[in-house]
Amino acid sequence: MISLQHVWKSFDGRQVLRDMSIDVERGESVVIVGGSGTGKSVTLKHIIGLLRPDKGRVVIDGVDIGSMKEVQLNQFRRRFGMAFQEGALFDSMSVFENIAFPLRRHTKMSEAEIRARVEECLEEVHLHGVEKKRPSELSGGMRRRVGFARAISLKPEILLFDEPTTGLDPVISDVIAELITEMDQKLGTTTVTITHDMKVAFKIADRVAMLFNGQIVEQGSPEEFQRSTNPIVRQFIEGRADGPLTDVD
């Protein structure tokens, strides 16, 4: 369903993705792991067309979105939900308005239905009594959860999560992980998640992929990934300071 084919991307002469390819099947949950600054967020932004590849193709359901016009792409994005790394909440709106935003714009729901759905979404991420607050009044972890709630509010087909559990306590992290698994299984959502938290990764993933040096260097089911003998993967899972990951640059 999602297919990145030989994608190259550089910023100001710095090559971030080099010939990167990955495929995600419908209904699958793929987790991308990798060191900080290796281009995980950049990869996610290519999938939803916020960035366009210098070379290569991004194909969603057989359509190359790299060559799409902005208007078509805008339509196309209704099928997506994305939670950003820093939340990216609209700070001119309350928490309630943030989550209601996609509902108001893309559905004909009544005010009561919107209210109910927003409450439901906040309930899912275990936030209470914050509807009227401004994003600036929330902690980092709370903001991230509101961003998560906003991404799922329309129950989209494809969900992209950029480090949804970073900065959350272990209990809430697990709640979020459960939620992702549940949406995957009950609604058949296709999800791509970025995380540093291996526990979360192994819990939600059908497949784990490791990004290193602008490419996917290893991928497989959580069990396969854990048993991998690839020294890069081993170093990452074990969290050691010395190894091939830290030898570059």
């Binding site: 805008n74 994005r77 950003f84 820093e86 996609p102 714009r105």
Partner: protein
Amino acid sequence: MTAILDRIGRAFLRTLEQTGLWFDALWRTLTWLFRPPFDVTEWLRQMVRLGVDSIPVVFLTTMFTGMVLALQTFQGFQRVHAEQFVASVVSLAMLRELSPVLVGLMVTGRVGSSMAAEIGTMRVTEQIDALKALATEPVQYLFVPRVLAGFIMLPFLVVLGDALGIYGGYLVAVKLMHTNPVIYRQNTYQFLDMNDVWSGLIKAAIFGLILTLTGCVRGYYTSGGAEGVGRATTYAVVSASLIILLSDFFLTKLLF
């Protein structure tokens, strides 16, 4: 020598690039204006923010300008015994030139800058990306209501400015210089033409478009964190003011 040429060349290219971005944004704003959804509440909110909230600034600026203008012309015209024309000069100058330009520049400082800062902050905190990810075109959601507000509200502010400026001139001439109020009032209208009013209002609408669009574009292409937002704000005010003053000349030439 080559260093100087190099810098001139770069500045020229940058200006060209900015001009390109500006007209591209104008085109996109126009096309998105006619696509649903029409977010009328947001349109109104921006009109209030730009129009109603600017009234105090417009009030002070134009009123005092009218007063100073009367004072200055009075002293000049006295020397050639042409005091009776003070009223005509004040009303002509306010309607055709001063009210549109002053209101344009003041609103640029007040609103154009804050639009650049607001949209620039949205850019550097990924809120623009979030808008897109929520299938909402930023040009439609951010540019259209703001540019529309500028285009529609500036003429209203200018009408207000015209009235206040002329009234300010009247106050000075009559109360301070003891001119005959009846004659002064008569001379205010006598040499006026409907053209004078229209040309000022057309200018105002165009200035409104310029200052809002420049604020939006500068904000939209912000990069580089808080410092970038500061730069975008400054550039928005400087370039919008320059474009207003330059286009003022050509508009005046064009409109009569």
